[in-house]
């Protein structure tokens, strides 16, 4: 008797909190969709009317159908090539036939992949620069003082200002006979790196500088060398803050990437948005909205992934 009466309020509380945690966001989304729908019916733009939620979902289907159609075209290409090869070999049995790869057109879904590759390349470059610099800054006050003006000066610079400089430098310096990367890819990735390295650099420096003096004393007592000290004591102790920095950096990088791709012509989501804007067709706005939601969802997923990494290295200290 007493157990049931104790359980009932608990169930009730659980149900109430579930209702609140799921119900309120659902309600909010419903209100948002309603307002959007209403707005789309009443706002006329030069491309026709503002697309509502249904038009946007329709556009996702179109983009997917396009992706599938492109796959079919690829198969047709290889069939044509096989026929050509047969005809060629029938003619010169000893001839050397060169297989060609299909020159694929970037569909929306391939563009998503390109964007992810670009942002991770930029992020890795940024991390490889920012973490070592941050560690040195944290350990050496002099170095920190020397670097500080540059950090303060370059941190607030917009990606749109970096990009032309990066593009010109990449064009001048990167000219291999068999380029492995596209120049546009490299320019975008470097711009992402330039803009996203600051949070990691600053957080690493702070993390290292605020290590408990006792730990460093232990290192001194054990007569650890400089590298052993960094890898055995400093880095593990600073890890939670380093990861906080990395998470912020990836978020910044993802935001910067879209702008960089628009200008550098890297065939990712940024170029998709710009190309659709240039189309000026009646689907333009719906297509751009699909891209906006996609960018948002991917950004959210990246942040969650970094958050779980951050939690994993935080040794019980709760990260948010």
């Amino acid at each position: 008797m007493s157990t049931t009466s104790a359980a009932a309020p608990r169930w009730e509380a659980l149900a109430r909190s579930a209702l609140r945690n799921i119900g309120i966001p659902t309600l909010a989304i419903a209100v948002f969709l309603g307002c959007w729908s209403l707005a789309s019916r009443n706002i006329q733009v030069s491309f026709g009317s503002l697309p509502g939620p249904v038009a946007v979902v329709e556009e996702v289907k179109n983009l997917w159908a396009e992706h599938v159609a492109e796959g079919a075209k690829e198969r047709e290409f290889y069939e044509r090539q096989a026929q050509r090869k047969e005809a060629f070999l029938a003619k010169n049995p000893n001839g050397e036939w060169k297989e060609r790869k299909y020159a694929a057109r970037p569909t929306f879904f391939r563009q998503i992949v390109t964007s992810l590759q670009t942002v991770f390349t930029g992020f890795v470059i940024a991390s490889l620069v920012a973490v070592p610099l941050g560690v040195i800054c944290g350990l050496s006050r002099g170095f920190n003082l020397a670097l500080n003006p540059f950090i303060q000066l370059f941190k607030p610079v917009s990606p749109l200002a970096w990009l032309p400089i990066v593009m010109i430098l990449v064009s001048a310096l990167y000219n291999p006979p068999e380029p492995f990367f596209e120049k546009a890819f490299l320019s975008s990735a470097i711009t992402v790196a330039l803009c996203s390295l600051w949070p990691t650099l600053i957080n690493t420096a702070v993390g290292v500088a605020s290590i408990d003096q006792d730990y460093l004393n232990v290192a001194r007592v054990l007569r650890l060398g400089w590298f052993a000290k960094v890898f055995k004591i400093v880095l593990p102790a600073a890890l939670p803050l380093i990861f906080t920095g990395l998470r912020l950096s990836l978020g910044v990088g993802w935001m910067v990437l879209i702008a960089a791709e628009m200008l550098a012509q890297n065939p990712g989501l940024g170029k998709f948005v710009w190309d659709m804007f240039q189309n000026g067709s009646s689907q333009t706005l719906a297509q751009i909205m699909v891209a906006v939601f996609t960018i948002g969802l991917i950004g959210f997923a990246l942040d969650r992934a970094m958050l779980s990494l951050q939690r994993a290295v935080s040794f019980g200290a709760q990260a948010r």
Binding site: F47, G95, D275, Q278
Partner: protein, 456 residues
């Protein structure tokens, strides 16, 4: 070597093959051997850039209809954000070639703007541009020029009708603002030609004024083509000169009036070219010929039948190409022109891709653009007639075009009459809106005849 290059294989089917084998083995062998050396492109994987305009059609059609593949070329095409980025990417080698404004290879080679030796062996089309004015400006013109209000509107509309509006706005301290797509674009010269023919000064380029607005009655500035309608709707500019579909777009969206076409300003004027760098052409001569072959076939296909045009509009309206709505693209591509909501007229020659030897790179076309660069001060000093000729021959390469055309004639894709008998100069023509005759051999004498602009 790609067997499909031989015409007999293109119409490949077993009976025919047997017959050929039986009757003509020796000849066939000879033919294969004969075409072998010319057949192999040095660089089969290519990437071409284009701007979202209907006149990129030859590149798109050559890809979609498999003409590039027939030549053993595997081509990716990529839309570019604007003409400057497109040119830069061709120069840096990120793009192998691109859909360019006729003025771009010329200006790059003489060093106005970006300096690089860019050449062209293929003219992409004739005509295809229009001038659009904001509805408010058009209504004011109707009020000030009663003869314009007749039905149907007397065409072509000359800029004389716009002049009182321009004068009023200039006196009020808010001069009329117009957009064009690039400082060395055909549109810039056509718009200036139209204005100047009506007594309106479009402004000079000087060392101190690189925006080209010195002494201007109308302020002309650069806006990328696809953004024209939006910029007009925002009121940033009150008119523009641009290629299709961006004039028809403004008419269909009811934000502007497509007041005059470049066909009326200069009948059958040369428009876009296919540009590559001189270095690229030197390293890849066979590839270049193969590309030009595919482009000539595409141009011919585009002009072959109205059905082909409709199919081309369907292809171009896909989002990776021009991406505008089919109806908007079809408006001008299928031989009509919509001036206003209720004034649509037939204009079969608005987009010419192949007829009138449209694909041939005439020196006289190059010289006309050079005269306009001088007329408006983009070329800083007077030049001799010889210099014009010399520059034209450095940039325009009919020799490459002829090599490609010769192969196509041998393969049966072209008739010998499809290629002009010419020394590179078109006949003297006075089919301009002001009737002033142009002779490509005498650029300086031509400049003397134009009322507004530098004269030597």
């Amino acid at each position: 070597m790609n067997p499909s290059r031989l015409p007999i294989f293109r119409r490949w089917h077993p009976e025919r093959l047997v017959r050929i084998r039986v009757l003509n083995t020796a000849w066939l062998f000879a033919a294969v051997v004969a075409t072998l050396p010319a057949a192999e492109p040095e660089k089969p994987d290519l990437k071409f850039g284009f701007i979202k305009l209907t006149d990129c059609a030859p590149i798109v059609i050559a890809k979609e209809k498999g003409f590039f593949e027939d030549e053993g070329l595997y081509v990716t095409v990529e839309a570019q954000a604007n003409w400057k980025i497109l040119l830069d990417r061709v120069i840096t080698g990120e793009l192998d070639g691109a859909h360019m404004l006729a003025g771009q290879p010329l200006a790059a080679t003489i060093g106005f703007g970006t300096k690089a030796h860019v050449i062209t062996a293929f003219s992409m089309d004739l005509n295809g541009n229009g001038v659009t004015l904001a509805k408010s400006v058009w209504e004011e013109m109707l009020g000030l020029n009663p003869e314009l209000a007749a039905t149907p509107t007397p065409r072509p509309v000359k800029a004389d009708a716009l002049k009182p509006v321009v004068q009023r706005l200039k006196a009020a301290g808010t001069p009329l603002k117009m957009g064009m797509v690039f400082p060395v674009s055909t549109h810039n010269y056509e718009l200036r030609y139209w204005l100047a023919a009506g007594g309106i000064h479009p402004g000079f380029y000087t060392p101190n004024d690189t925006t080209g607005t010195a002494e201007a009655d109308v302020l002309i500035s650069v806006t990328p083509p696809p953004q024209m309608p939006a910029t007009l709707a925002q009121g940033t500019i009150q008119g523009y000169c641009v290629g299709e579909p961006w004039n028809q777009q403004a008419v269909i969206r009811d934000i502007g009036v497509a007041v005059v076409t470049d066909y009326e300003i200069w009948k059958n004027n040369p428009e876009k070219v296919f540009g590559v760098t001189a270095a690229w052409a030197e390293q890849n001569p066979q590839t270049h010929i193969a590309v030009v072959k595919a482009l000539i076939r595409a141009a011919k296909w585009l002009d072959e039948s109205p059905e082909n045009r409709v199919e081309a509009c369907r292809i171009l309206s896909r989002r990776e190409y021009v991406g505008a709505d089919f109806q908007v693209i079809a408006n001008s591509m299928t031989g009509t022109w919509q001036y206003t909501a209720d004034d649509t007229r037939p204009m079969p020659d608005f987009n010419v891709f192949f007829r009138y030897f449209a694909t041939y790179p005439y020196y006289s076309d190059a010289v006309w653009y050079l005269t306009q660069m001088r007329r408006w001060g983009q070329i800083g000093e007077a030049k001799s007639d010889d210099w014009y000729k010399q520059t034209a021959t450095e940039v325009y390469r009919p020799d490459i075009y002829r090599a490609a055309a010769k192969e196509l004639i041998e393969e049966g894709y072209l008739a010998a009459t499809d290629i002009p008998e010419t020394d590179g100069y078109r006949a003297v023509t006075d089919e301009f809106i002001d009737g002033i005759a142009y002779d490509g051999r005498q650029p300086n004498a031509y400049l003397q005849k134009l009322a507004i602009g530098l004269k030597d």
